[in-house]
């Protein structure tokens, strides 16, 4: 079990995770940015 958890990701896995995180942040920023902007504007 412990050995399984200690498995360190390969450089490719690290690249994939970094890229996924970056694009998730960009997409979420756009997505929630628009919605939050809407709500902020609405509350004024």
């Amino acid at each position: 079990m412990a050995a399984g958890l200690a498995h360190s990701p390969s450089p490719q896995q690290r690249r994939v995770r970094r890229a996924a995180l970056l694009w998730a942040l960009i997409a979420a920023g756009f997505y929630f940015g628009f919605i939050v902007l809407t709500l902020v504007r609405a509350s004024r």
Binding site: R15, V16, A20, F34, I35, R41
Partner: protein
């Protein structure tokens, strides 16, 4: 000693494929998820097509035949939403799932669990959307464009519409992230960006478009939601809002969306024409740059959808000229496809037939688009059947034929069987003849002044409406041949070789047909790439 060795051998060859419903519900395999996307897309194609048949039935004769106008408007609205978000977009994602890892020498999509999530969001989204037929007030009837203030009159279906759009958007964005991360990080080492197949390129650009514009749609529909339920007045003139602002925001999403629907078809046609011409694609790099140019231009043309709403002359000129500019990269593509065929050794199997029909008929849709781009002419065409004819030429013999061409091209690879060529050829000719009988007369109706989105019309429009409806029924019925062909191919047929088509190039043809459950567990060697990845 012998036992562990036997164990190791069996591990090396077995697929580790889960069985029963778990295989599909918990799937993280790109091929299984691709298959689910394609089945979902096909189901939605028939549901949306059913709505289209009802529309054509009502329009067969003048006068109200079967439906009250409210229900008719629900049919047109739901037909569009189901076809765009349920049939075409998931269809492309299904093909992307199947083909991108195989074409890039990758074992799977980069984010397999996210892939599962992005698929399984869709059945919930469409249950909500289609379920809106059964709530008080009926399904949304204000058009797929959801213009306020009309859309704010929707009954209990309104929040269902908004929530289902949010879900579809989330699914598309997650799918797009997966495609980008896969393409940028999972390519076999020597497949550089400019050695990628065109289908992968067009999908990469589509994925960027999706991430850029789906949030805009989400923002727009959230504003509608707050206007409806929380007393805001974003789009209500009485409270200082501006209904036209919604149209600007919507079409800032809506025009790139058109290219989201069509760019992957460009990629598929760019794979098929070289294969059946037995020649490399003419101008590979020009095709890549043309695709990127089209995507860029798609962000600065949105207001051509609203010339008649009223805007300054300078804005009309700007949007007219940028729209016309799109003809340049599109022309590059049409030229390059034609030049690829020039002096090629052509053969006309079903994928090539559909690709050629795409080339001719999409170009007709492109030309009528140019006519609509001309501001003074648009004042006549706006909101008539001419517009309906235009975008159906782009989307049916464009996007749908492109998708069918892709299915006909890769079906032997997916199933390991060749399909019934005669049935495929019948499907092609019936579809092509009937699609023209269906949509070409709508140009005449529009030019004669028949408005769109009406259940009844003046008697002078009767003849061409009858012709159009006959074309519609013929086209709808022809599609059952496609389902029969796929069913037969999945269940048997002549074995397809690894390279199912003589002139096919690309890494996917280096795998067995059907490919193993986990393809490219080791990156392909340079020799395999050199053999397979030529354009």
């Amino acid at each position: 000693m012998a036992e562990p060795l036997a164990h190791a051998v069996s591990h090396a060859t077995e697929d580790h494929k889960p069985h029963g419903w778990r295989r599909w519900v918990y799937s993280t395999n790109h091929k299984d998820i691709g298959t689910m996307y394609l089945i979902f897309s096909c189901t939605m194609f028939f549901i949306g097509g059913g709505a289209a048949m009802l529309i054509r039935l009502e329009l067969f004769k003048p006068g109200l035949q079967f439906f009250d106008p409210q229900f008719f408007n629900s049919l047109t609205t739901m037909h569009a939403l189901i076809m765009i978000f349920g049939a075409v977009m998931p269809g492309w994602t299904g093909l992307a799932n199947w083909m991108i890892p195989m074409q890039l020498g990758a074992p799977d999509m980069a984010l397999p669990r996210l892939n599962n999530l992005s698929f399984w969001i869709l059945p919930f989204a469409f249950t909500l959307l289609i379920g809106s037929f059964f709530v008080p007030g009926g399904a949304p009837a204000g058009g797929w464009t959801m213009y306020p203030p009309l859309v704010l009159q929707t009954g209990a279906a309104f929040p269902m519409l908004i929530f289902s759009i949010h879900l579809m958007g989330a699914s598309s964005i997650l799918g797009a992230i997966n495609v980008i991360v896969t393409i940028m990080n999972m390519r076999a080492p020597s497949i550089t960006l400019l050695r990628m197949p065109l289908f992968v390129w067009t999908w990469l650009i589509t994925a960027y478009l999706l991430i850029a514009v789906m949030p805009v749609l989400a923002g727009a529909v959230t504003m509608l939601l707050t206007d409806h339920f929380f007393g805001t007045t974003f789009f209500t003139a009485a409270g200082g809002g501006d209904p036209v602002m919604f149209q600007h925001i919507f079409w800032f999403f809506g025009h790139p969306e058109v290219y989201i629907l069509i760019l992957p078809a460009f990629g598929i046609v760019s794979e098929i024409i070289p294969t059946f011409s037995r020649k490399p694609l003419f101008g590979y790099e020009a095709m890549v740059y043309a695709t990127a140019s089209i995507a860029f231009l798609s962000f600065i043309v949105w207001a051509h959808h609203m010339f008649t709403v009223g805007m300054p002359l300078a804005a009309q000129l700007f949007f007219m000229l940028t729209t016309m500019l799109i003809a340049v990269p599109t022309g590059v593509k049409v030229f390059n496809w034609t030049a690829t065929m020039w002096k090629g050794s052509l053969s006309f199997e079903p994928p090539m037939l559909f690709a050629l029909a795409f080339l001719f008929l999409f170009t007709i849709g492109g030309f009528s688009g140019l006519m609509l781009a001309i501001v003074p002419a648009d004042y006549q065409y706006q909101d008539t059947y001419f517009v309906v004819a235009h975008f159906h030429y782009v989307l049916v013999p464009g996007a749908i034929f492109g998708m069918m061409a892709g299915v006909y091209y890769w079906l032997p690879k997916w199933t390991g069987h060749m399909y019934d060529m005669k049935l495929g050829t019948w499907h092609f000719w019936l579809s092509t003849i009937f699609v023209n009988v269906l949509f070409f007369p709508q140009h005449f109706l529009g030019l004669a002044g028949m408005p769109r989105r009406i259940p009844d019309y003046a008697v002078q429009f009767t003849d061409w409406n009858m012709v159009s409806s006959i074309g519609g029924f013929g086209f709808g019925l022809s599609q059952f041949l496609f389902v029969i062909l796929i069913w037969k191919c999945v269940h048997g047929g002549e074995p397809a070789g690894n390279r199912a088509w003589e002139g096919a190039h690309g890494l996917e043809w280096e795998l067995t047909s059907p490919p193993p459950f986990h393809s490219w567990t080791e990156p392909p060697s340079d020799a395999v790439i050199a053999r397979g990845a030529e354009h």
